[in-house]
Assembly symmetry: C2
């Protein structure tokens, strides 16, 4: 390598992917292609991944990785330079226990989850680790055990929680780039998380409550007004927390959503599949951040309460349709 050690003081050679779902499977595949040693931790698909490997169908090219290194959460896993969190935030109560054997002094924890405050919890639980947040724009679904369909996008914006760890971005971005992933170094993780919430808060929640995809929401004047109102409250919260959106940001995001291919947000897929919803990190934590600045967000709070009710009663009542 010709890079000076100041720009890339260490190389990244191994990554443990905690949670081999759509996100973990996709980026794990890309890191394999980028030359990393990748260790996949899987729960339900462990045996099939061991036997058949990992398949990722993608516009970037269909890939079949076999054999791959697969571990159950309870297995002893060799130390890796980086642990990539591929679990949904609904699993975050299990993270300390799951990460404990994987994190060593200096281990990079790469958190690709949506929502707010998960990184702060990681820093508090693992002060010996280096926590980096990634904001992904990825359309991918798990279509079967060990089978991922990558539909579109895939870029990641990256920033460290602590500025002292910013030098760790370069080797990570290098590996991702080698695997065909566009990356961007973010000046502020919180800025990017709030901007992503501007989309996630309205469209994830409304897609569940209104039982509709993004195109139907955008085509209906009342649902569109709801999305705009919710996005406006996210903007108020972001500004109150010191991360104001640029002028025109909301209009641009709405226009972008209107041009998008009809899309079922992940929370809608979770709801329809009777999986837990990411209400805590996508709604309650941003509400809490705003509240601590004296700001009450009535529309977001209402949507969060509706989602909590629907999740609770939907799960009790497994018949389709509600």
């Amino acid at each position: 390598m010709s890079e000076p050690p100041t720009a890339s003081p260490q190389t990244l050679s191994s990554v443990t992917v905690l949670g081999t779902g759509a996100l973990g499977g996709f980026y794990g595949s890309r890191l394999l292609l980028g030359g990393c040693q990748v260790r996949f931790i899987a729960r339900s698909d462990c045996a099939i991944l061991r036997r058949d490997g990992l398949r990722v169908d993608s516009p970037l090219g269909d890939r079949h990785h076999a054999p791959i290194e697969v571990y159950a959460a309870s297995d002893p896993v060799p130390a890796s330079d980086c642990v990539l969190i591929g679990l949904k935030t609904t699993e975050n109560h299990r993270l300390p226990e799951l990460l404990r054997p994987l994190v060593h002094p200096g281990t990079i924890i790469l958190n690709l989850q949506n929502g707010l405050t998960a990184e702060e919890e990681l820093v508090a639980a693992f002060p010996e680790a280096r926590v980096i947040g990634g904001v992904c724009f990825l359309c991918a679904n798990k279509i079967g055990p060990g089978r991922i369909a990558h539909l579109d996008y895939g870029s990641i914006g990256l920033a460290p929680v602590h500025e002292r760890d910013r030098h760790l971005l370069a080797p990570l971005m290098e590996r991702l780039a080698a695997g065909g992933i566009t990356t961007e170094e973010l000046p502020s993780l919180a800025d990017a998380r709030w901007r992503k919430l501007a989309w996630n808060i309205p469209f994830n929640g409304l897609s569940v409550v209104l039982n509709a995809n993004t195109d139907v929401i955008m085509a209906d004047p009342d649902a569109r007004r709801l999305a705009t109102q919710l996005m406006t409250e996210v903007a108020q919260a972001a500004a109150a927390c010191g991360h104001p959106f640029a002028p025109g940001f909301i209009a641009e995001r709405l226009a972008l959503t209107e041009r998008m291919t009809p899309y079922a947000p992940s929370m809608r897929l979770d709801y329809l599949a009777h999986r837990p919803l990411e209400i805590e990190y996508l709604y309650r934590r941003p509400l809490r951040e705003a509240q601590s600045r004296g700001l009450r967000l009535t529309a977001i709070e209402m949507l969060a309460d509706q989602l909590t009710f629907l999740e609770r009663h939907h799960q009790r009542n497994p018949e389709p349709g509600r």
Copy 2:
């Protein structure tokens, strides 16, 4: 009659019931029992009512009125002292046309609908009439053509739109009382309408959006918080419009709802039966009244927008479940 003419300057001998559904059928039956001549106007059930009469099963006693005077809307109907509006507010765009042949100088129009501002429209359209508003507490369903099931309650609070018409209440209350209906003379119609909205706005809308009856809503901490938030906004609007609720009113209404038999609000029944929803008079008009006083009600607005979306898309998509 021993009453002095000042207390009851005229008697009420005939009533035309416009719309023979659960409400019109029930009160029509009670007015027949109270000694009125009652003319029923019916749309879909006209032929069956003519042939079989009207059946009302009730804790007050089951009744079968046959034959009864039944008219189609297009028939010439003899002039009555009073026209009772038994249509839902979703039909109010048709009211001027339907009422035109029924209203003569001095005719009492008794409006028993929920929501705001319908009486003002009646006064504007029929300045020659005397408009009285009634706030009903009635649990009744139409269970078939010409068949009403009265479940519980039935009392009416009454007030004229114009104070000059207050003397018209006595003969009306007399007839209703003779038919077994408890009545109350209200000092202010608007006061009573706002107090009823305090229940209707949260529980009608939430029962549709959350697909749940009142008992499920009250038993769930998040849904209960939603109901409380919505009721609080109704209280703010009522106060801004000059009709403040008494202290403790909200807590008392919630406690009352908790003690109620599990109940499907009428909007939920309408939604499940793919009928139009009373969004305009129950939500949009109160929102407009508040807005004209500079008050924006975020939670009620959001619920109204959700209901409008759901009604629009539910009607387009007649499969059960959404």
